[in-house]
């Protein structure tokens, strides 16, 4: 699926300092019944965000006007559990373009990369620093520079490098997707398939 190019993102951030945020929290299974990729943002963090009667839970960060931005900052082991790409779609649909954590679950990380949401893995110390910055000043800005593979706490002079493969980086910078790449390999793939035992 084609997506927006990603280069430099400067934004305030929304903090979610909870560990092991699983994809059932990000979007519960009962909201996976759509056959199109739209509208999932309404149910992002549904059961943390809303009471059973549909009224917002005032103490949840997405309902707190103080916090906004295109960067979601989560605790360690973010996105564990189910492979549902709907979790990444819901995050995207709510306006986030980058998720920062000190550790990501594998499938979630891939799902984000495949739809143009950048997962930025930072050290536990840097993650703590980000949470502190936001706590001190919710207007704190962060700059995520994909070309340079660096996340900066704007105005503080503090930054950290993050990892991404050259291939994925190029894809995100240019808005390319893997299917285009694979379709160009069709003859090689067919040749390979003809030699497989099963």
């Amino acid at each position: 699926m084609a997506y927006d190019k990603f280069n430099i993102l400067e934004s305030t951030a929304v903090p979610l300092p909870i560990e092991n945020v699983d994809t059932d929290q990000i979007i519960p299974a009962r909201f996976l019944k759509a056959t199109e990729r739209k509208g999932f943002g309404d149910n992002l963090f549904r059961d943390w965000r809303y009471n059973t009667d549909g009224t917002p839970k005032e103490d949840f960060v997405l309902n707190n006007q103080t916090y906004s931005g295109k960067i979601l900052v989560g605790g360690k082991n973010f996105g564990s559990g189910s492979s549902r790409e709907h979790a990444a779609w819901a995050i995207y649909d709510c306006g986030f373009r980058c998720v920062v954590s000190s550790f990501f679950a594998d499938i979630f990380r891939n799902n984000c990369l495949n739809i143009g949401v950048l997962p930025v893995q930072v050290s536990p110390e840097f993650l703590e620093r980000i949470f502190k910055e936001i706590e001190t000043d919710p207007e704190s800005k962060f700059e995520v520079d994909l070309s340079d593979q660096r996340i900066n706490i704007v105005g503080s002079g503090i930054s950290e490098k993050f990892e991404i493969t050259e291939y994925k980086k190029e894809n995100l910078l240019n808005g390319f997707d893997d299917i285009d790449y694979l379709l160009n390999l069709e003859s090689e793939i067919k040749d390979f398939a003809s030699k497989t035992p099963f």
């Binding site: 699926m1 909870i18 560990e19 092991n20 699983d22 059932d24 929290q25 519960p28 299974a29 009962r30 996976l32 019944k33 759509a34 056959t35 199109e36 990729r37 059961d47 059973t52 605790g75 360690k76 082991n77 564990s80 559990g81 189910s82 492979s83 549902r84 790409e85 709907h86 990444a88 550790f103 990501f104 679950a105 594998d106 499938i107 891939n110 799902n111 495949n114 739809i115 493969t165 050259e166 291939y167 994925k168 997707d177 893997d178 299917i179 790449y181 694979l182 379709l183 390999l185 069709e186 090689e188 793939i189 067919k190 390979f192 398939a193 497989t196 035992p197 099963f198």
Partner: protein, 469 residues
């Protein structure tokens, strides 16, 4: 040069290596279900392309299906629409579709092995994280997202960096009342839910050699719950005899050729893993979880750990116990429960129903318990009836439902009500996983059966010993 089992299977499926990038990784068999596929098919439509190898693709309906009255139209219009979409997409692309009511219908990870789709040395993916189940046969099998489902439909490949390798050895023999589920929950409790993230696991040691194919499926199924992309077990005679004669398994001369290859699917003696861990079978007792992720579990006779003794964030731990309405240091034994769920791709096979029946036989369902017993497939359902297990269940006051994922993820109407406790043989105890506000205690079919007849958390070994006496 020495290779691991994982290396052998992985390396033989790399179509192309991309420098400083992922491998173009060939997929032998692709399993598709109704929830994670519609957007992928839509993607094909937008590009005006077809499924490259429909004969390598198999579709079933399981996640979003009712487990009663399957002969009637699906009442929920959204669910019905999703099922219709898979039926239409399968027909349009020539993919075999085993929909609701079909004799081969069932949970995708139960029916794959049943039909002989799952083979040693094969690569298998599905838009579902428990695809790791198929690793029990020495396949590389793992869950993928919908964008990747689209890639496999379009090109039979995904772009995947090769994971690191980990071997987990469990030595010795399992104690009385300890099942494959307990082995997996024990390992996860030691590693945490992220301890194997970035790795592909091979399970080795006497415990897995002794284990049945269904037991191995249970263990490999839960690999994702320690963060691993997948887990696998080297194929042996048990594997081969399970597969032989199944519908999609090789036949005749093709079988002999396959066997020659399959026998090479062992880790070489001096192969090195990125990480290697060993556990002793004698340290494992029946397990139960007390928290809101599968790593938060312990032996049933042990209490809930104190926050101060737990690795990781204390606030996250306390939030989890608050959700469960449990306290640090409490015993799990004798906690009152409300629901029992037997089923899922983890424990919805015939051996699981046999184990459950072995305890409820001659006893009665506790009056405070609602029990949902959901076979993993129609074949499992048939075996339950043929083996007389259904009679035992009925005699004890239990009903059998129709196959599907059911309360494991509660997409259908099988939802545990808010605040209620369920002892579940499924795979995840996340907040709200089994319904908004539900509280899940993960355990084996034996522990589930003991809870179902006593109405509380009970060590099944006591009941089993009473039966032997």
């Amino acid at each position: 040069m020495s290779h691991t089992l994982f290396d052998k299977v992985w390396d033989s499926h790399v179509v192309k290596k991309i420098e400083n990038g992922p491998d173009v990784f060939f997929i032998d068999r692709h399993l598709v279900h109704e929830v994670t596929s519609p957007v992928a098919f839509l993607g094909l439509k937008e590009r005006s392309i077809s499924v490259l190898y429909p004969e390598r693709t198999f579709a079933t309906a399981d996640h979003n299906t009712p487990t009663i009255n399957q002969h009637l139209p699906v009442a929920d219009p959204l669910s019905a629409n999703q099922l219709k979409a898979l039926e239409t997409n399968s027909a349009e692309h020539g993919i075999p579709y085993w929909g609701l009511g079909h004799e081969k219908n069932g949970i995708v990870h139960v029916i794959g092995p049943e039909a002989g789709i799952t083979l040693p040395g094969a690569t298998i993916v599905c838009g579902d994280s428990h695809t790791s189940t198929h690793g029990a046969f020495g396949a590389i099998a793992f869950g993928i997202g919908t964008s990747e489902v689209e890639m496999v439909l379009a090109a039979q490949c995904i772009m995947q960096p090769k994971p690191k390798s980990m071997r987990i050895n469990v030595n010795g023999t399992l104690s009385f009342g300890v099942t494959p589920k307990d082995v997996a929950l024990y390992i996860i409790s030691k590693l945490s839910t992220s301890g194997a993230t970035g790795y592909f696991v091979e399970y080795a040691g006497q415990v897995f050699r002794d284990m049945s194919m269904e037991g191995r499926m249970t263990v490999c199924n839960l690999s994702i719950e320690m963060g691993a992309r997948g887990g696998m077990i080297a194929p042996d005679e048990k594997t081969f005899s399970y597969i032989q004669g199944r519908e999609y398994a090789p036949k005749g001369a093709a079988w002999d050729i396959a066997m020659e290859y399959w026998k090479t699917l062992q880790t070489d003696t001096d192969a090195v893993f990125d990480q290697e861990l060993s556990f002793e079978a004698s340290d494992i007792e029946p397990m139960i979880t007390y928290g809101t992720n599968p790593g938060m579990g312990g032996g049933i006779s042990k209490g809930i750990p104190m926050a101060a003794h737990v690795d990781g964030g204390i606030s996250t731990y306390k939030k989890s116990l608050a959700y469960m309405d449990f306290n640090e240091g409490e015993s799990m034994i004798d906690k009152t429960i409300d629901f029992v769920f037997l089923g899922s791709c983890t424990n919805g096979r015939i051996e699981d129903f046999r184990a459950f029946a072995s305890i409820v036989k001659g006893r009665k369902k506790a009056p405070n318990v609602t029990a949902w017993l959901v076979p993993g497939s129609h074949r499992v359902e048939d075996a339950i009836k043929e083996e007389g297990i259904l009679d035992i269940l009925h005699e004890a006051g239990f009903e059998l439902r129709e196959p599907g994922c059911s309360a494991c993820l509660a997409m259908n109407d099988d939802k545990i009500p808010p605040g209620k406790y369920a002892v579940s043989t499924s795979n995840r105890n996340f907040e709200g996983r089994q319904g908004p506000g539900s509280r899940t205690l993960l355990a084996s079919p034996l522990v589930a059966a003991a809870a179902a007849v006593t109405g509380k958390v009970t060590d099944p070994r006591g009941l089993m010993q009473a039966d032997l006496a």
